[in-house]
Structures are given as C-alpha cells and as structure tokens.
Symmetry: C2
Subunit: 141 residues, 2 copies
C-alpha cells in the first residue's frame, strides 16, 4: 500500500521530456495525434502509443489539462495555472485564456447542495470568438 506520491517512481525518458518540451511551445489545445505529428515534424522519434501513454500519465498528475471536444476527441494543453481553473477558447483559432471564477464555483456547489448532492465536481468550458475573429464581416458559417 504505497500511499500518495509515486512521482519519484517515474523514470526520466527522452520521450517524456520531448513531449513536455513540445507542449510547452504550444499555446492552444491539441489532440494526441496533432502533438505526435508536431514532434515528428520537429525530428523527434516517438511512437504514437507513447504519446498517448504520457499524455495520460501527465494529465493524471495534473501537469496537463484535458478538454474533451464536442466530437469526443481529447485535447491537451499545458496550463500556467496548475490549480482548478476554466478555459475560454476561441472556436475559430483555438486561442485559449484561463480564468478563475470562485463565485461560479460556489454558486454551483450551492445549487448542488440544494438538490442533496455532495462531493461535487464540474466541467465548465466557454467557447466564443476572440477579438481577432469577432464576426463583423467575414462569416465562416
């Protein structure tokens, strides 16, 4: 029964370092496949399965944020804030802004409690058009 911290048990592999390095250069959410392609383009030789495995491990240890897209694809991003926060994502260019909203958190928890729910958790993501893609002239839909 090894309690808690097993981060010391992880080995330091070239591949994991490369994945983190690649992520640190991305600003928006990317799929595992996109990240893999990016790495190949950068001359890194890393297997796709390895990318998947590491993204999983990293997100589990909160070093990465996961966002499930509308079509069910998982998107990853290395966030500045390692604590609980939400995202404001431009649906045109993927530009992402992190934000905190303690009032929202509390309000949601309150609502949950009103209905007798405990141990509350939630997913909240906001999508919109960033200033560079505000609809004014060029409509893409």
């Amino acid at each position: 029964m090894t309690v808690g911290d097993n981060s010391g048990m992880q080995r330091n592999t070239r591949q994991r370092a490369a994945i983190l390095e690649t992520l640190s250069r991305q600003d928006d959410f990317r799929s595992a496949q996109q990240i893999h392609e990016q790495m190949k383009a950068d001359g890194e030789t890393v297997g796709l399965a390895t990318v998947y495995r590491n993204l999983q491990v990293l997100s589990r240890s909160d070093r990465l944020d996961v966002l499930v897209a509308g079509d069910g694809e998982a998107l990853y991003r290395q966030c500045e804030d390692t604590g609980h926060h939400h995202h404001l994502v431009c649906r045109e260019c993927g530009r992402t802004v992190e934000f905190l909203a303690p009032k929202l958190e509390n309000a949601m928890t309150a609502i949950a409690h009103e209905h007798g729910f405990t141990d509350v958790d939630h997913t909240l993501e906001v999508f919109g058009l960033c200033s560079d893609h505000a609809e004014g002239g060029v409509e893409t839909r």
Copy 2:
C-alpha cells in the same frame, strides 16, 4: 442553398417513434448502444445505425440533450426543459436533475467579454453524489 427549416420534411417512421418512446421511459443519460439494446430487449427491431442517425437528428432539433462523457462516449437524454439548462448528475447512479442558473450564464458571458470574446457559448455539467449515494463511510477515492 436551401435555407433553414426542413423539420417539416422529416417522415414519421415506426423506428423514430419507437426511439422517442424508449427515451421517454428513461430518466438518465444513455449511450446510443444502450438505447439500442434496450429497444431490442423490448422487442423492437431497429438497426443500430438507425438509432445513431435518429439520435443525431433529434439532438440537432433540440428534442434531445447530449452529454459527452469523460471517455468521449455520447450520452442522450430526453429533458423536460427544452430550452437552455444544465445537469446535475449522480456519478454513482446516473440520476439527473436539470437546473437553470441565469446568474452563472451572465457571469460567464461577462468574463468572456472582458477578454474580448463574443458570440459566447458554454458547456457546464455538474457531477456529484445524490442523497442516496452520499459518502458516509465508503470512500471511493
């Protein structure tokens, strides 16, 4: 370039009626496959592809709510409120409560605007343990 409303063009098929009927008897979110199995168990003969197609059509016309589970699977539910609303879902039994939170909506929109985002939309789902599954002794984490 056929504009807008083609909802009048949909035909009334036995299959679609059966799917709606099945959904109306469910209280929680179910996957397309689960719905298909349920129907088979009820003696309905409907193809899986047909179930998928109809769930899509119905959700597109807002007669059904879709919830993308953590693993990317799409879950469907017939909600009482046909307008914009959110869900409070018990992560143990799937029991679902619908709720409105206009304050949250406004707050989120405000935050988005502060960052220059427009045409804002969002996804918000709350997960917890309902009164029947409140943790009192048995900790699952």
